[in-house]
């Protein structure tokens, strides 16, 4: 029963959501299931938080490798939580810390992309075969066509911006749609396998 019960629950919940799409009368049941999911995820958050705190406290206690890094993690976790409880999240120290520490740090991580695009391009865009050659030529055209330098000086006669727009609007769009259609069909297949209990790997079984 321990192995069958999750499959039965999955089947019932899946059918409710599928039937609701075609039958508005089922909407209250579907909304109830959605609310249950929200409640479950909130409780799961408690588990996640406990996991995070436990692992880092253990690291400090056992002086495991890189244990000093756990201090700023725990301090910032508790500091933000306590400040938000005392001063709220609309204004005050929490907002100051969020705007002046959290957002700049997120922007810093985001900005790594600029550097990584360059290093990934240097490593990956090599004409090992004709498809790779097509990829790198297209990448060069699109990269130059999307910025003003692609229309400066002699490059303006190549009309790179127009070619870029054509590439983005037609071949690129066709490929993206094909991926999305294929992915949608894949979603139907995997969903059917899970609902019918054929796919059980998410339960850890074979």
């Amino acid at each position: 029963m321990k192995k069958q019960l999750p499959v039965i629950i999955g089947l019932i919940a899946g059918l409710v959501f599928i039937v609701q799409f075609f039958s508005p009368a089922i909407t209250p049941i579907q909304e109830r299931f959605t609310n249950w999911f929200i409640v479950v995820s909130v409780f799961a958050f408690v588990l996640g938080l406990t996991n995070l705190i436990t692992i880092n406290l253990q690291k400090i206690q056992r002086r495991e490798e890189n244990w000093p890094y756990s201090f700023p993690l725990l301090i910032s976790l508790f500091a933000m939580a306590i400040l938000s409880f005392i001063f709220g999240i609309e204004k005050g120290p929490f907002v100051w810390l969020f705007n002046n520490m959290m957002l700049p740090m997120s922007a810093t991580m985001f900005s790594l992309l600029a550097f990584f695009v360059a290093s990934a391009s240097y490593r990956a865009f090599r004409a090992r075969h004709k498809e790779a050659a097509m990829l790198l030529v297209t990448a060069i055209i699109v990269m130059l066509g999307q910025v003003p330098i692609g229309a400066a000086g002699v490059l303006q006669y190549l009309r790179l911006a127009d070619i870029t727009n054509w590439i983005m609007a037609y071949p690129n769009m066709a490929a993206q749609r094909a991926i999305l259609i294929g992915a949608a069909l894949g979603v139907v297949a995997i969903s059917l396998r899970i609902l019918l209990g054929i796919e059980r790997a998410y339960l850890g079984e074979d």
Partner: protein
């Protein structure tokens, strides 16, 4: 290790330093590269330009601080355009931090208008900020019936019945244009799919400037997401689209009001050029290395 092999496997830290310089130097010493607006950006500009004085435009602020660098310059340039054309603006948000984005945009626009001695738009008469409501598509559907039903109060708590602008327009069906600045979901797909079903006015025919009883649907989004919305442009479900910082720079150029987007174009151009040169260099050394290996084999 030979020079060719060393260059072929160049330490990525050298690449990072060069890219860093390629971005910093043009920021400090602007080049002023020419910006030629793309067709979608021009279409967006032409749509707003085609609206008669007094037309009401709805701006939907559907982004947050993480995408501000790309979308905020678009918001500022388009609002500047609307106010200099004496259009009226209703601001709403389908994302929680949208109302703050709208306020920050207005602060910037007011500075620009003040610098030109242009009369500042008056809150309540020329523009309103109705704030944020959750449930994206349902908000769009609800506004088609009644603004008051969805936004009984503006973001400052004032009943909209006390806002003179909201007396001129009761529902979304009376709008002349919608501008959706979106970084994700809810955003452009919601507006495209839901607005026509909900009864918003149809778009004008492609190439037509007669907008009686019609409504433009214009959008601004991040550079990564923009290609995904080209099908809407191609099928006239949208009449204009600004993509990323380039789109914002195009619009700033069209309204002749250089801002952060145009300032960002020089570093972006040089960085792209440097990456292209790296790619060419990598291929040169790749082929040289292959030739060397063939020679060694023979």
């Amino acid at each position: 290790m030979g020079f060719v092999k060393r260059m072929s496997g160049l330490d990525r830290r050298i690449i990072f330093v060069i890219i860093g310089l390629a971005v910093i130097i043009p920021l400090l010493i602007p080049i002023g590269l020419p910006i030629i607006p793309t067709a979608p950006a021009r279409a967006t500009y032409d749509a707003i330009q085609n609206l008669p004085e007094g037309s009401i435009v709805l701006f939907s602020f559907d982004y947050d601080p993480s995408t501000m660098p790309e979308l905020q310059p678009m918001a500022i340039a388009m609002l500047y355009h609307c106010f200099t054309k004496h259009l009226k603006v209703i601001m709403i948000a389908l994302w929680p931090q949208g109302p703050q984005m709208a306020e920050l945009s207005m602060q910037e626009v007011n500075k620009q208008l003040e610098a030109e001695n242009f009369p500042l738009p008056e809150y309540g008469k020329d523009y309103v900020n109705l704030g944020y409501k959750s449930a994206g598509g349902l908000v769009i559907i609800g506004m088609a019936t009644s603004f008051a039903g969805i936004f009984p109060l503006d973001t400052y708590g004032t009943p909209i019945s006390e806002l003179p602008l909201m007396d001129k327009i009761k529902s979304g069906k009376e709008l002349q244009a919608v501008v959706d600045l979106s970084a994700g979901d809810p955003g452009i797909p919601a507006w495209v799919m839901v607005s026509r079903m909900a009864g918003y006015p149809q778009p004008p025919e492609p190439g037509s400037t007669d907008i009686t009883g019609k409504m433009y649907l214009l959008g601004g989004t991040t550079a990564v997401s923009a290609p995904g919305f080209y099908p809407y442009l191609n099928t006239n479900q949208m009449q204009g689209l600004l993509g990323g910082m380039r789109g914002a720079a195009d619009y700033e150029k069209l309204v002749n009001k250089p801002g952060t987007a145009i300032a960002g174009m020089d570093p972006q151009s040089i960085a792209h050029l440097v990456i292209v040169l790296f790619i060419i260099m990598a291929n040169v050394f790749f082929f040289l290395e292959k030739r060397q290996e063939k020679r060694k084999a023979t």
